[in-house]
Symmetry: C2
Subunit: 189 residues, 2 copies
């Protein structure tokens, strides 16, 4: 199954993270590949590290790719370098999908990498091919292929089209709108 | 901070669960109170039980309240009994909010309990009073009060009004639409 969490509201990455926890609870193996994340340690990173001392030791893996934020928050890296990093991230994703070692693979912020023109939607669709439903038979190409979640704003239409499930996280109200506070540990990262 | 995750799409409870993990990672203490859940063990229940053998032993607590699904999936319980169970759940929530022992409290599916007329929005607003921003001073009444997440479809307008952050999870595409599959372990529960 291919799931897309998109939209301008809070809850895309956290919903993917919640799916990861649910899957772990059901005995499944989960990989999170993060594209375009800042350099700081997020709550989920610290949590995942702690899990290494438990039964879940080999069940949850987080891989960070990319070179941090693109064109915002003081980023001055040439776009070329961001593109190279995103391509490398995609290469890892491709290998991991093919490996058939995971039940759930989350490509976090992958939608943004396309919006920012770091990789093309076509490149991503290519690596998703092994897990897409065959539109003629309505059957998975392989029963052992993982579920994949694609998160991030502005998901391309081609992702919506091939996805089994799409939710738009729509911002109705956000504290940043009111400039009341900035990002908070445990809430925003 | 009061967060509301509402809408008809997938990702409300999982986003709250993701927030819980993020908060746990940042060393915070989390309580999830589930209203109106089915009797089966969800992935998050199993996961939380496993956490009991770790550093997170006393950091994550899940309390199930309510009498299962209301008016669907074969439920024949009188509405009165559901209402009583929901009121009891709310009582627990009130005590836990007042206890100041938690950094994050999730009232899962609380919005639905109102939509189903099990409790009133007013009853919920009352227990949230200690943590609402004072509209005059724009200050919290107490710095030690927890963040609260309210999940579920059809959040009442009064919740949107008092919330600091609201996301609508909007269904764009869902496999149930196509009758292709039913609920799957690790994805839907």
């Amino acid at each position: 199954m291919i799931l897309v969490f998109t939209g301008n509201g809070k809850g895309k990455t956290t919903a993917a993270l919640g799916q990861a926890i649910r899957a772990l609870g059901q005995g499944k193996k989960v990989l999170i590949i993060q594209f375009i994340k800042g350099p700081w340690k997020s709550g989920e990173d610290i949590f995942a590290r702690k899990l290494r001392t438990t039964d879940y030791k080999h069940k949850l893996q987080i891989i960070k790719t990319g070179k941090g934020f693109v064109k915002i928050l003081g980023d001055k890296l040439p776009l070329k370098d961001h593109q190279k990093a995103a391509r490398e991230g995609l290469k890892i994703a491709e290998q991991k999908i093919k490996s058939k070692k995971y039940d759930l693979i989350i490509l976090d912020e992958i939608n943004n990498t396309i919006d920012l023109k770091l990789v093309s939607a076509k490149d991503v669709l290519k690596i998703l091919k092994p897990i897409r439903v065959n539109p003629r038979s309505n059957q998975r190409k392989s029963a052992t292929s993982p579920d994949v979640i694609l998160t991030g704003r502005n998901a391309p239409k081609s992702f919506i089209k091939i996805a089994d499930l799409v939710t738009e996280m729509k911002e109705i109200k956000h504290p940043f709108q009111k400039n009341k506070k900035s990002a908070r540990a445990g809430i925003d990262f």
